[in-house]
């Protein structure tokens, strides 16, 4: 079975593994122990103790916090129950003017702000930009991901989660 050390997985996640080695990992059969190894890498990265159950973005994790399962920023900020859309508890900055769009696209033609805006979803505590939506004005905020957490742990990982 293919398997890599935790250090290799850490460097891979950080984008610091040399490309030839990364390429070999991409071409090889997948390592079946990856998930828990990657969770361990993320767990080392955060300062808080809640066990990570699932990474959902670059710096967002679902974790077990007491009896609750919440979406948590790497900085520790809680976005609430993981089944709810974390974006609704974020801070938002909307770029819907030419001036605001030009800040991100200084040398290109721009979209028409009457047709499209950019919504930046930001951690209100550390200021990390977690997600960017490009949407028509008035478009509902999208709930990106509703994982079947229980099914995943029970049926695919063979390690059912404790009931809460």
């Amino acid at each position: 079975m293919t398997s890599y050390s935790k250090e290799v997985i850490r460097d891979l996640a950080a984008g610091q593994l040399p490309w030839p080695q990364t390429r070999r990992i991409m071409s090889a059969y997948k390592d079946d122990d990856r998930f828990f190894k990657m969770v361990a890498v993320y767990q080392d990265r955060v300062a808080w103790k809640d066990p990570i159950l699932l990474p959902v973005s670059d710096h967002l994790f679902i974790c077990q916090s007491g009896d609750e399962r919440i979406t948590r920023c790497e900085c520790g900020h809680s976005f609430g129950d993981y089944r709810k859309n974390w974006k609704l508890n974020a801070a938002i900055h909307v770029r819907n003017t030419e001036e605001a769009l030009r800040e991100i696209y200084p040398n290109s033609d721009l979209p028409d702000p009457e047709w499209m805006e950019i919504r930046e979803f930001i951690c209100p505590e550390c200021g990390t930009l977690h997600e960017v939506e490009a949407a028509a004005p008035g478009y509902p905020i999208v709930h990106d991901f509703e994982p079947d957490l229980e099914g995943f742990y029970r049926e695919w990982l063979g390690k059912p989660l404790q009931e809460t």
């Binding site: 047709w115 499209m116 939506e133 990106d144």
Partner: protein
């Protein structure tokens, strides 16, 4: 007449029987046990490898027969081997989108009783480019030949080439002016075009008299037939070695194994759950010549996608909430949607070689009837269906990538493909002859970023994993234009911790012609049709076209004055305007104008991919390298990424790490100061929604989505706590 079927059943009955068995058992053709694989796995794997080798070899041989730079240079071709019922067993590399569309074509012939008329006989050649039968767009012309073994039909060999000229209302194949089927070009609707391994002369005459550049199409036909015959003879030889019974069983076990392998890969690489995303497409044609007033000239499409992965490993993609079909060329058929799904799967989950129609069988598409994904009118045009397919399957790639990130396979996460506009042309060639063609350098756009590195620069498109822009000298042989510039477009990748791949811009001098029609298609104007991921930004929208009519370039060259070889980095004034005299033209969206002539200049930009991660985490040292090499501007490095650059002693940019840390801390504070709680934003925006205070195209988009989808209506109403129907479709029945 098919006189000796492999079973007592005729093909149509065999096909229906196979579908019934799948329905009853959940397994392809009722194969609940992989008996042959279990008996001798090595023989099983070796045989599939042989079949794949037949396909790869046949395609490479055919590319050397083709005269078209699209096929020869860029590889716009794929071949595959099928079961008698039309399910793909093995395929080549290339434009794999068509492996399953050809499957639909074969099944369509079987279901329409081609066994009786026009009959299916050894040596017959059948062709099709009708998307409602099984292809994506008119230029995708497919040929299939039956494989007989001692009088029994035991399979099919098929090949597709993308033709550079299809004889539509505008030259090329992605006919931008097509607003209904009748202007798309030459249709071949599941026709028998040859017998006894020979293409019929009357069919060739029809092609010669209905195409602007028949040499491409006709020689591609010969290339495709040659590849089909090559595969057919290889399969017949194989059957003589392994026996007919073994072949009939093993070919189907390969597909069932492919289905199981897809389910297993999904369980291995992803996380079950529901994933959502969306993209948009803006089309602007108001005031442009040639467009009939059949519908609104300008429109905005939303493309929401909900992907469900169940714990058995099945992936379902649901397009509910998207827009109706329209009087434009960007509609798609279920065959095209299938093809988009298939080619995406082959790149992201099934790259090990043992891939076939089984992978497609482990997925499901929900395509709402009446939308652009599944039109309820077969008169609609699909000539540029890639315009909507590419953004849609870019979303699919981001949804899949979210699941890879969640599972820990960050190296597989990929922000996705982009829609990269295409140039087509016709008129008088540099040789003084009539001509027409599509320019396929668009097949090398920038890719989306990965979760661990930047996207590919000028090296990726979704429809062909072998993306290639072709050779400038070859393109120049084919058109009355010479390159005076081809360069990276700075900042064309979306910003992020890892930026999207950059694209390029070409600039041409029109040469040795008095009549060159230049047209472009697949432009998403006014909106982003791609996205970023995990904090990354979308790549810029499709850029405007810039041309100079009656330029003074020859005078400038004679004097040794500086020219302009690219538009430059000032979005308000191009370098053409600064350096070259003449009548300057700037056009948004499709480029449809009066013919050009020698001495004019034309430029065209392709698109880059979306970014991944927070821009403030981008590596300053890599950014300095990007600035030095023209992938990012110095302005963007500071303003977007917060990276302070200084010059080394030779004048090259290097990162000032301390100053960067300081600037980024300030930018983070500024970011927080500008942001407001989402709840406050929703409360404020709700007033605008209630008043429908939006541009007409936005309001129309909502009204159309609400009319077609009760789920979209409910989701919209619930989110804003409004009655969406009464706001956007007043007077409609509740």
């Amino acid at each position: 007449m098919l006189d000796k079927p492999a079973s007592a059943l005729r093909l149509r009955e065999r096909l229906l029987d196979s579908e019934r068995l799948m329905e009853e058992t959940g397994c392809y053709d009722g194969i609940t046990e992989l008996t042959l694989r279990n008996q001798d796995p090595l023989k099983f794997e070796t045989l599939h490898t042989k079949l794949r080798a037949y396909c790869v070899s046949a395609r490479e041989m055919a590319r050397r027969i083709s005269a078209s730079p699209g096929v020869r240079e860029v590889g716009e071709m794929v071949v595959a081997i099928y079961t008698p019922e039309g399910d793909a067993i093995a395929l080549s590399n290339g434009i794999m989108v068509h492996v399953h569309t050809m499957s639909r074509f074969i099944k369509w012939m079987i279901k329409n009783n081609y066994e009786d008329n026009p009959r299916i006989r050894e040596g017959d050649i059948f062709a099709n480019n009708d998307a409602f039968i099984g292809t994506v767009q008119v230029p995708d012309v497919m040929d299939v030949v039956p494989i007989f073994h001692e009088g029994t039909l035991v399979g099919w060999a098929g090949a597709v080439c993308h033709e550079l000229e299809a004889g539509g209302i505008t030259p090329g194949g992605d006919v931008c002016l097509a607003q209904e089927r009748f202007t798309e070009g030459l249709f071949v609707c599941a026709e028998k075009i040859g017998e006894n391994d020979e293409i019929r002369r009357d069919y060739v005459i029809r092609c010669e008299r209905n195409l602007r550049m028949p040499i491409y199409w006709v020689l591609d036909e010969k290339a495709k037939v040659a590849s089909c015959i090559d595969m057919r003879e290889s399969v017949k030889q194989l059957i003589s070695e392994i026996g007919l019974d073994y072949w009939m069983k093993v070919s189907k076990e390969f597909i069932e194994e492919g289905r199981r392998a897809q389910l297993a890969r999904t369980r291995q690489l992803t996380v079950p759950g529901i994933y959502r995303g969306h993209t948009f497409y803006g089309h602007v044609t108001a005031g442009k010549p040639g467009f009939q007033l059949l519908g609104d000239p300008d429109w905005l499409y939303n493309i929401p996608i909900e992907m469900e992965i169940t714990t058995d490993g099945k992936i379902t993609m649901d397009f509910e909430g998207t827009q109706p079909w329209g009087y434009h060329s960007m509609n798609c058929t279920p065959a095209g949607m299938d093809g988009g799904m298939f080619v995406t799967l082959t790149q992201h989950m099934n790259f090990e070689g043992l891939v076939n129609d089984g992978a497609w069988m482990a997925t499901e598409l929900k395509l709402p009837y009446g939308t652009w994904t599944n039109p309820d009118n077969e008169m609609v045009a699909t000539a540029t269906s890639w315009a909507l397919l590419l953004p849609a399957y870019g979303v699919f790639q981001r949804l899949l990538s979210r699941s890879f990130v969640a599972r820990g396979f960050v190296e597989e996460a990929f922000v996705g493909q982009v829609n990269s506009p295409m140039i087509e042309m016709g008129g008088e060639s540099q040789y003084g002859t009539p001509f027409g063609m599509a320019h396929f350098e668009c097949a090398a756009a920038g890719s989306g970023a990965l979760a661990i590195k930047d996207g590919l620069d000028t090296a990726y498109v979704g429809w062909n994993p072998e993306s290639d822009m072709g050779n400038i000298e070859i393109w120049e042989q084919s058109m009355p234009m010479v390159y005076i510039g081809r360069s990276i477009v700075p900042n064309s990748g979306g910003a992020g911790k890892y930026r999207g791949g950059c694209s390029f811009v070409s600039t041409w001098l029109i040469n040795k012609t008095s009549h060159l029609r230049l047209h472009t298609s697949e432009h998403s104007s006014r909106v982003f049709d791609n996205g970023g991921m995990c904090g990354g930004y979308p790549a810029p929208t499709c850029q405007k076209h810039r041309a100079v009519r009656n330029s003074n370039i020859h005078e400038l060259a004679a004097k040794g004055e500086p020219l302009a070889h690219a538009p430059g980095i000032d979005p308000h004034v191009s370098d053409y305007e600064r350096n070259i005299g003449g009548d300057h033209v700037v056009v948004e969206g499709p480029y449809i104008t009066s013919p050009h002539k020698s001495g004019d200049i034309f430029s065209h930009s392709y698109n880059g991919g979306g970014g991944y991660g927070d821009v403030l985490e981008r590596d300053p040292i890599k950014t300095a390298w990007d600035v030095e090499n023209g992938f990012l501007t110095r302005q963007a490095a500071g303003q977007v990424f917060g990276i302070v650059l200084k010059d080394d002693e030779d004048g090259y940019p290097i990162a000032d790490i301390d100053a960067t840390v300081e600037r980024r801390a300030a930018m983070r504070k500024e970011r927080l100061a500008k942001a407001i709680p989402v709840a406050d934003w929703i409360a404020k925006e709700r007033g605008r929604v209630e008043k429908a205070d939006f541009a007409p195209e936005v309001k129309k988009m909502y009204a159309s989505a609400i009319k077609l989808s009760s789920r979209f209506t409910r989701d919209f109403s619930d989110f804003w706590n409004v009655d969406a129907k009464s706001i956007f479709t007043p007077g409609a029945k509740p």
